[in-house]
Amino acid sequence: MVEEVLSVYPEKARKLRAKHIVVKEEGSTCAIKANIKCVPGLMTARGCAYAGAKGVVWGPLKDMIHLSHGPVGCGYYSWGGRRNLTKGVVGVESFTPMQFTSDFSESDIVYGGDKKLEKVLREARELFPSVQGFSICSECPVGLIGDDIESVAKKMMKELDVPIVPVRCEGFRGISQSLGHHIANDAVRDHLLGKRERDDAGPYDISLIGDYNIGGDAWASKKILEEMGLRVRNVWTGDGTVEGMMAAHQVKLNLIHCYRSMNYICRHMEETYGIPWLEFNFFGPTKIKESIRKIAAQFDETIQRKGEEVIAKYEPLMRKVIDEYRPRLEGKRVMLYVGGLRPRHTIGAYEDLGMEVIGTGYEFAHKDDYDRTFPQMNNETIIYDDATEHELGEFIHRMRPDLVGSGIKEKYVFEKAGFPFRQMHSWDYSGPYHGYDGFPIFARDMDMAINSPTRTLAKAPWKKEKEVR
């Protein structure tokens, strides 16, 4: 099947793409190639380094202004596209729902944008006096014309007396948003981390890392951790604060949800501050239970006992959800294609509902993501990296899943083709999907997608009659 699907490409493209697709077999190890340049001219879902740095990592850090430095477009498109909910008065306590740009004109390209950048920062500081810092997220032209945003940041930090972080995330760097995550992590490390001490550090202090609070996800996760008796000092970077990030070196454990985007900072904190880190998965009751126990094992008996209490408290509620939805979802087959962590993390939640994932893949994963994914998959699952729209379409048409979970760019392609679909980046404007609060919503949404009566309207009755005759 794979060969047939790829046969439409010219030879060079076919050879390149063949390395990105594997079918899991009994005992096979993961031979997939990942984190390689996209093939020019083939429709990819990938974004760029700027999208990874500004859009994903920095954007949800709410009390800073994240300046889209360069022409107007990148900031416009990354504005509000990622449902990072925040608490706080907009424009005073939270800037995440807003968009700030230095709006390059032709003269900035010709003469350089450093002077303008200084002015932009001054104006922003004056108009938004409660801002706790700035990130300067550079767009393509900034790197190409050789602007020195680092020295502007240094100079202006002294003048304006708030942290100013240069983030060299020009879109042409690297091959996807993934490098932007790494660049953003490095900037956090160099400019914020360890810069503030809190005097109320405690034995149960933890950070929740890589939960961007899509549709309130981080709040649902935090609720479980707090019920376990842990103190979540900071969420990186969903509804996150500068202060929390600066003092993050004082926590006892880092819990990482989106490994792809934030593993770098966890490794750094382990090496530098000796803080252990743990991957966990809060999708669906089975994985939540496993994760609670794994997390609790890092702490004392009090936390372990409370962890069991949390599981016991929510088990009946989860049972109810499963009893309601499983009869309608049992045996349904799902194909996924998402970014970050979801291509593997959500599998357990589907399985809790009796569903099976028959194909999965990532937009911008690395080898280590696939090493983590393989063990989760059943044999004969097809796994695709940086799938082009042509490939994904062909796989889905040949394998006929009952549900497709992917992003906004794919949504209407597959809905139009008659496949039930859920956006698995933005939860299709629903959510949260994390934690015990999220699972009932997840189950309802998957059931709604598959069993909506609107799906039965596609064929006009006179067309149906014709077919029967």
Partner: protein
């Protein structure tokens, strides 16, 4: 801590609503906050989606393509095909020719387009790639057949806005693919150019009005189906658009009518000055008088009379306007959007006795200001209207808080400032990702006037019902 924080928050918030803050806000020269416009290639993509069998192709970094597709898809809830040649660091050093040639080869083989439209992102513009010669080299290297039609346009993101990109790409189509005019012969077709318009329902309305007058027309470009395709259980990557033959024949048109002036400036100049084709540009036909003017222009250009059914439709729109005038008359409005949309909207409000107060146009120029000011001066209801070119939604927020209005008109990005100012909002324009199907209702023509009147009047009535004292709550409104 909580108490102190909230006091501080409160005082900053109050200060942000003052005249003093407004002055500071309007004094800024470099920072842009919440811009009401985006970059050129986005408009170019919309234009390319309107040509039959056309695959839009961004020459530059691939992130742009992902962003354009996501954004347009969220607005229309439709698939948006677009490829990129995925330029990275090495292309920044060596130029993007290798990417463009390989990209053309792969896209041609995989997606089998009838035509491709290539437009540049800012990366390609900054390094100075020469698309024309790259395309020639792609043909020489047989990445694509020698006669495969390709149009291209330079669409730098650091000049103009999405409306400029639309214009540049449209001109690119005519320059690359339309055969130059041969003498005085015409093909007898009127070419209707919608401009940057993300209401497929508007485009359908134009077609209905023009053809109901018995005029042979071509919509150029025609992204109607691309922005609103039927659900049949089968996905088709290419939706019907302007047929290639009619694009190739465009410069033999009997005339061009431009439904927007400011998003088609360059194309119009090309058609008029270079190709000597009769052309007219109308104010976007929003509201009754603007629709009248559009139909009269059609009549003058073609000699065709306006049929009785359109006159009856006009009558129904007038009836709707009079029936609902009391809900709009004297109400003050703030609005923002593209120049053409704003000219249409202000005309509509003046028809209704509405009072346009703050008119913010991020991508407005001096000719726009003059035209808008003349329009405002033409009516006593326009006396208090003020035009703000090059301003953004944070400027508008200051205006709403220091000089309040009854309603904000604009796209979904304005919802936060409408909330801050505690006023209702009518969602009109592009980008509307937080409501369903608004793009499926026309805002142009007589039917569009009825829709706008209905929307705006009912928002006011809803607002009154929700907020009125109990003793004022009654069934009659």
């Amino acid at each position: 801590m909580g108490e102190a924080t909230s006091n501080c928050t409160q005082s900053v918030l109050e200060w942000m609503a003052t005249e003093e803050y407004k002055e500071k806000n309007f004094a800024r020269q470099a920072l842009v906050v919440n811009p009401a416009r985006t970059c050129q290639p986005f408009g170019a993509m919309l234009c390319a989606l309107g040509i039959d069998g056309c695959l839009p192709f961004v020459h530059g970094s691939q992130g742009c393509a992902a962003y354009f597709r996501s954004c347009l898809t969220r607005h229309v809830r439709e698939p948006v095909p677009l490829v990129s040649d995925s330029m990275t660091e090495d292309a920044a050093v060596f130029g993007g020719q290798a990417n463009l040639i390989e990209g053309l080869k792969n896209a041609y083989a995989t997606y089998k387009p009838a035509i491709m439209a290539i437009f540049s992102s800012c990366m390609a513009e900054v390094i100075g790639d020469d698309m024309k010669s790259f395309i020639g080299n792609a043909r020489n290297q047989e990445a694509i057949p020698a006669d495969f039609p390709i149009a291209f346009a330079n669409t730098p993101s650091f000049t103009g806005s999405h409306i400029t990109g639309f214009d540049n790409m449209l001109k690119g189509f005519l320059q690359s693919l339309a055969d130059p005019r041969q003498g005085k012969w015409t093909n007898g077709r009127l070419y209707v150019v919608p401009g940057f318009d993300l209401y497929p329902a508007n485009l359908r309305e134009y077609r209905r009005l023009v053809t109901s007058m018995g005029i042979y027309m071509t919509m150029l470009p025609d992204p109607t189906e691309a922005l609103d395709s039927p659900h049949t259980g089968e996905y088709k990557m290419y939706q019907p658009g302007t047929p290639m033959g009619e694009l190739a024949d465009a410069l033999n048109a009997s005339g061009f009518i431009f439904m927007q002036k400011y998003s088609t400036v360059g194309t119009r100049k090309f058609v008029e000055n270079v190709q000597k084709i009769t052309s007219e540009a109308v104010t976007m036909p929003i509201g009754i008088r603007n629709t009248d003017a559009f139909l009269m222009t059609l009549h003058e250009m073609t000699g065709k009379s306006i049929p009785a059914e359109l006159e009856a439709e006009r009558g129904r729109a007038v009836d709707a306007a009079i029936d609902a005038h009391q809900y709009i008359h004297g109400k003050r409005f703030a609005m923002y959007g593209d120049p053409d949309l704003l000219l249409g909207l202000v005309g509509f409000l003046l028809d209704m006795g509405g009072v346009p107060a703050h008119i913010v146009c991020s991508n407005g120029n001096e000719p726009f200001r003059k035209e808008m000011e003349a329009l405002l001066a033409s009516s006593p209801f326009g006396a208090h209207g003020k035009v703000y070119n090059g301003k953004d939604l944070w400027h508008l927020r200051s205006l709403l808080l220091t000089d309040p209005v009854d309603m904000l008109i604009g796209d979904s990005h304005g919802k936060q400032i409408a909330k801050d100012a505690d006023i209702p909002m009518a969602r009109i324009g592009y980008y509307l990702p937080d409501r369903v199907h608004l793009h499926r209702q026309p805002i142009v023509g007589y039917q569009g006037a009825i829709n706008l009147i209905t929307m705006i009047a009912n928002i006011f009535i809803d607002e009154y019902d929700r907020n009125c004292p109990e003793e004022r709550f009654e069934i009659l409104r």
